[in-house]
């Protein structure tokens, strides 16, 4: 598996290359227009909370579901143990 992954890295752009494909296609749009669209100087925040707001809403649902799963699992375990002691 590692050999396959290393073979895949041979075509990757150089580290810190400003002209890599990842930083030349979409991200300049957000850097240029993020401030006038959302009035937020932090571009990460404006993308997370404004452009991808619904995704972040779904993310909070993920945290909520995980928290509820933890609470339900751990409480169920505890109540069973209490019954066993009673």
């Amino acid at each position: 598996m590692g050999a396959g992954l290393i073979y895949g890295t041979l075509d990757m752009p150089k580290w810190g290359d400003p002209h890599s494909p990842a930083s030349t296609h979409v991200s300049p749009y957000y850097l240029h227009h993020g401030l006038e669209h959302t009035a937020t100087p932090n571009v990460v925040t404006s993308v997370l909370a404004d452009y991808r707001g619904y995704d972040t809403l779904g993310e909070t649902t993920v945290i909520f579901t995980a928290g509820m799963a933890c609470i339900l699992l751990l409480r169920r375990g505890r109540s069973r143990e209490e019954k066993r002691h009673d």
Binding site: L5, T9, G16
Partner: protein, 131 residues
Amino acid sequence: MIEFVVSHYNYWAYVGLMVIGFYAMMAKKNLIKKIIGMNIFQSAIILFYISTSVKRGGVTVPILEHAHGGHGAHHAVDIMQYANPLPHVLMLTAIVVMVATLGVAVAVCILIYKRYNTLEEDEIIMSIKRG
């Protein structure tokens, strides 16, 4: 050749981390060690994405300067001055999912430990077979 190695060895570090995590997930018997392996695996992916956002040469975090004071929108933004913000955003989401899976996995491990008094996989399977 040497220039190629210098500009690509960071990817090999992520490959190494990923293989370590995968090995821990597959080969270890202890469930907590499996969870740690899963976390190493996810951390390797997150490091890889963050490293794609790096730009050489006087680059800062993607927080725009001169943004306050009402004139901010009229300043031209030099995109070579700021790191790529999109991988950061995506990895923020991935970190959230990572924390959620970690929490649920540890909770399930606590219940397994209460039921079988061990976290070793083979011992759990033995005691299930014994009934």
